[in-house]
């Protein structure tokens, strides 16, 4: 998601490395954190540790358990295990003794080094922690060794650690737990040496997912939805049907009569909340609520009308974001010109666990329990709404039941809602704000809808000579705090990523962006701009290859193998060729037709990771297509946990397929038409293709895995359908044209 915020690191306070390496240990009481829950990986970091004995990232308990404080949210992408792997590697710990817990909100200690605030996104969790958590592990290791050396009266250099046990040639040995207390009192070393890659035993090999055992037994206190507090009320909020509408009047008499409903309150600017002793009465109470809305000033356009406006805009000139050579002239002089208009719908994230947040306000303090993806903004927001000091807001992060970008928004709307309800309610009582699936689907914060219009010209040899690209898409960033970093001269970087840096050899490339204002809140959605831009660029490549009569793999190779004179682009192209060649080999590529099936290929870079995919489709009797197989090759630099990278590719492919085949959010007079999984159609098991993934060996710095698997699958499927029908599917989802 907000990966381009990397740029913010220049503007925001930069992390100093000082604290964590010079962190002097706290004398009191060693390291008191045991396993609070019986099962490994559980993570309710209630009242986080005050001591940073082994850096702010590691605690070691007397029973030898090593708890890694994860500064990120793990919403399924596996970073809790990833960061624990980094620590275990340098600490020479055994997987069995590792635990993961979420760090408290503390921007100084736990900021994401990619953007200077504590938050998770842009597939940065491993990338920005790679050095930091290994150093933490090495620091803790040095301290344990020093403590053992002192106790045994031997030089530190003679002590070895393996599988979590310290030993000396004299026969002396001991566990981490035995030395934890003494080690915690030592000064942390100023410098540590990290292992070289050839010494790694876990990184790049395998390490068990720490959260998996809990997630196979329905362990309590795992997710935000699981939070139960004494005396807790459940709140459901009725939000307006049209974005921006206001409550004119409401009648709560029937709602209040529902057994279990405690009160119904007006939450100005947000809607009407029903408070109940538990969830079902809250839902029932809300059904009985009568509300009259004032839609003056609300967004009441239908999505069809918006598309019509967007298509018109796509015919007019807009702010330019790329202008290499004279594209108009190149296209005018081209032997062949291909042209296409693409349409993308709004998409909800539809993560399995709807939005949820529990808040308890006590005087000038507030405690929150939920999957926090953006601690710094969330904490500040809660403090502002409640009018309390920011340090009085405690955030307990739990695992997220998915997110795909949804659990973080620049306006922290869910925090504002919950804090507002708690403030209006006024009693010191925990309140759990639950979004029902309908609330979640209807709440907005969608991937923006968009229209792209592209013209490309080919010379007589079938080489691209010019590319003209116009994007019409609502800005994610304008009007938010991030605008200053992310929008330059009318160009929102997240709208154009993937086109601005399209790296094929095309001598003349011109691109423009329109950013119409629409009252529907939009948000980053797994891979942000890349599901649209990757689709358009890669589908256009096939349309051009088709017109040139060249095999699509060969066509890509040609346009990737000419030196561009720009070092970064040449490097991109070399790595793209690497994954393309690998996926061609894996799938046994021999052209777009394969027996009675058809294949499409696509390659895309996002979040510094390169992914190529081949999709194979078959045609059903009713004319729809079934995606049978997907092959995927990924180059994400050093893959800390290759099997987890595979899992993210598999999941990213399935998630992307759902969107391409079935999912759309439409509006009728500003009201969202889809409310639940019956109409906002997810992918089901029988629709999941067989997926084979290979992770390329690489010595490059680790880059993201959570998002980059998603963008290529759409165009790979589209290109397979182009091969089958001669027509490029350009309006999504494919169900609209009867193709899925």
């Amino acid at each position: 998601m907000f990966h381009v915020m990397k740029r913010m690191q220049d503007a925001a306070a930069r992390p100093t490395r000082r604290n964590f390496l010079k962190m002097s240990a706290v004398a009191a009481g060693g390291l008191v954190v045991g396993s609070r829950l019986a099962l490994p990986g559980a993570a309710l970091a209630e009242g986080a540790a005050a001591e940073d004995a082994f850096t702010p990232f590691i605690r070691i308990s007397p029973d030898g358990l090593v708890t890694v404080l994860n500064k990120h949210l793990d919403m399924g992408q596996g970073n809790a295990t990833g960061l624990a792997t980094l620590v275990a590697e340098e600490l020479d710990a055994s997987p069995e003794q590792m635990r993961a817990e979420f760090a408290p909100a503390d921007v100084e200690r736990y900021k994401n080094l990619a953007f200077g605030m504590q938050g998770t996104g842009g597939s940065t969790a491993i990338a920005n922690s790679f050095e930091q958590y290994r150093k933490a592990g090495a620091t803790a290791r040095a301290m344990l060794v020093a403590a053992a050396a002192k106790a045994w009266g031997v030089p530190t250099g003679e002590i070895t650690i393996s599988g979590g046990t310290l030993s000396h040639a004299s026969g002396k040995s001991g566990t981490f737990g035995e030395f934890a207390e003494a080690a915690a009192k030592l000064e942390a070393p100023a410098e540590v040496t990290l292992k070289s890659p050839d010494q790694w035993v876990y990184i790049g090999k395998s390490f068990p997912r720490l959260d998996v055992p809990n997630k196979t037994v329905g362990a309590p206190n795992t997710y935000g939805m699981d939070v139960q507090r004494d005396n807790m009320l459940v709140a459901v909020l009725t939000r307006p049907l049209a974005f921006g509408a206001k409550v004119k009047s409401f009648n709560a008499d029937t709602a209040k009569a529902v057994k279990g409903v405690v009160d119904v309150i007006d939450v100005p600017g947000h809607g009407v909340a029903v408070l109940a002793t538990s969830t079902w009465p809250a839902i029932k109470g809300r059904e009985a609520l009568e509300i009259e809305w004032d839609e003056a000033g609300a967004e009441t356009r239908s999505s069809d009308a918006l598309f019509a406006e967007y298509r018109e805009l796509a015919d007019t000139a807009g702010p330019v974001f790329r202008d290499d050579g004279d594209a108009e002239a190149a296209i005018a002089g081209a032997a062949t010109v291909v042209e296409q208009v693409f349409e993308f719908p709004y998409l909800a994230h539809g993560m399995m666990e709807p939005m949820v947040l529990t808040i308890h306000v006590e005087g000038d303090r507030a405690t929150l329990w939920y999957p926090s993806q953006f601690q710094t903004v969330d904490q500040q927001t809660a403090a502002t709404v409640l009018g309390i000091p920011v340090q009085n807001v405690t955030i307990n992060t739990l695992y997220g039941g998915g997110s795909f970008g949804r659990r973080t928004s620049p306006d922290a709307r869910h925090i504002v809602e919950a804090a507002s309800i708690a403030k209006i309610w006024g009693k010191s009582q925990p309140i759990k704000l639950v979004y029902t699936r309908e609330d979640d689907t209807r709440a907005g914060y969608y991937r923006p809808m968009g229209v792209h219009k592209v013209r490309a010209g080919l010379d007589a040899d079938g080489n691209l000579v010019g590319w003209h690209h116009r994007i019409v898409q609502q800005s994610l960033m304008s009007g938010t705090f991030f605008e200053q970093f992310m929008v330059h001269d009318g160009i929102d970087e997240t709208s154009v990523e993937g086109v601005k840096d399209a790296s094929y050899a095309i001598p003349a490339f011109h691109a423009e962006l329109h950013s119409p204002k629409v009252g529907v809140p939009v948000l980053w959605w797994r891979s942000v701009g890349h599901t649209q831009t990757g689709y358009v660029v890669e589908a256009m490549m096939d349309k051009a290859a088709h017109a040139a009569g060249v095999d699509p793999l060969e066509f890509r190779r040609r346009h990737l193998s000419q030196p561009s004179g720009i070092a970064e682009r040449d490097k991109d192209n070399a790595r793209k060729l690497g994954v393309l060649d690998k996926v061609a080999e894996m799938s046994g590529w021999s052209g777009a037709q394969h027996g009675d099936r058809f294949r499409g290929i696509a390659v895309h870079k996002s979040f510094n990771t390169y992914v190529a995919e081949v999709a194979e489709v078959s045609r059903r009797e009713d004319g729809t297509f079934k995606v049978e197989n997907v092959w995927c090759a990924v180059d994400c630099g050093v893959a800390v946990n290759p099997d987890n990278v595979k899992a993210q590719m598999e999941g990213g492919i399935g998630y992307g397929l759902a969107a391409v085949l079935f999912s759309e959010i439409t509006l009728t007079d500003g009201h969202v038409d889809q409310l639940n999984f019956d109409t906002y159609r997810p992918l089901r098991i029988e629709e999941m293709p067989k997926v084979v993934v290979e992770v390329l060996a690489s010595a490059e710095a680790p880059s993201g895995a959570g998002e980059p698997g998603t963008p290529p699958v759409g165009p790979a499927v589209a290109n397979a359908i182009l091969a089958a029908t001669g027509e490029l599917p350009a309006v999504l989802p494919l169900t609209k044209a009867g193709l899925a």
Partner: protein, 152 residues
């Protein structure tokens, strides 16, 4: 007062008769392993066993479950269940994990009935269980794996 037998234990709960079993489990009994995903029988996150059958607890009124054996993720056991949970761990099926209680209950019911399921059997039995993380490839593999261990 509603009387339910849950994971072999008799419980008495004071709720309206129309309360879905899902909310009785989660809110009244604090058994939060059974998940809420959609509330309309469209996702399977709330799957439990009623007399061995996989059902959606969000669409089962608590009063309708009286007199039946209710089994949830917290209590599921037996040959099929242990094989399924072991396979889930071995193949590291869960990502976010939120759907997995339901997946495991559905897979267990399938294997209890059909010890060696084909891919089509799996599609049929598991189609109602959505996984937004799309762990389907591993779910399928883990069901086959569990079937193997049950044989052995």
């Amino acid at each position: 007062m509603i009387r339910l037998n849950i994971n072999g234990e008799d419980r008495e709960i004071d709720v309206d008769a129309d309360t879905p079993l899902l909310w009785v489990l989660r809110d009244e009994l604090g058994m939060t392993g059974t998940k809420y995903g959609c509330g309309i029988a469209a996702c399977g996150a709330c799957t439990v066993h009623l007399d061995g059958m996989a059902v959606r607890s969000c669409q089962t009124m608590a009063s309708d479950a009286e007199g039946m054996a209710i089994v949830t993720i917290e209590g599921v056991d037996g040959k099929a269940a242990s094989a399924v949970q072991a396979a889930w761990r071995e193949l590291e099926v869960p990502q976010c994990g939120y759907c997995q209680s339901g997946q495991i209950l559905a897979a267990t019911a399938l294997l209890a009935e059909t010890p060696k399921p084909s891919d089509e059997d799996i599609d049929m039995a598991m189609s109602g269980n959505v996984c937004r993380c799309a762990t389907y490839t591993r779910i399928r593999a883990a069901i086959h794996r569990a079937a193997e261990t049950m044989e052995g």
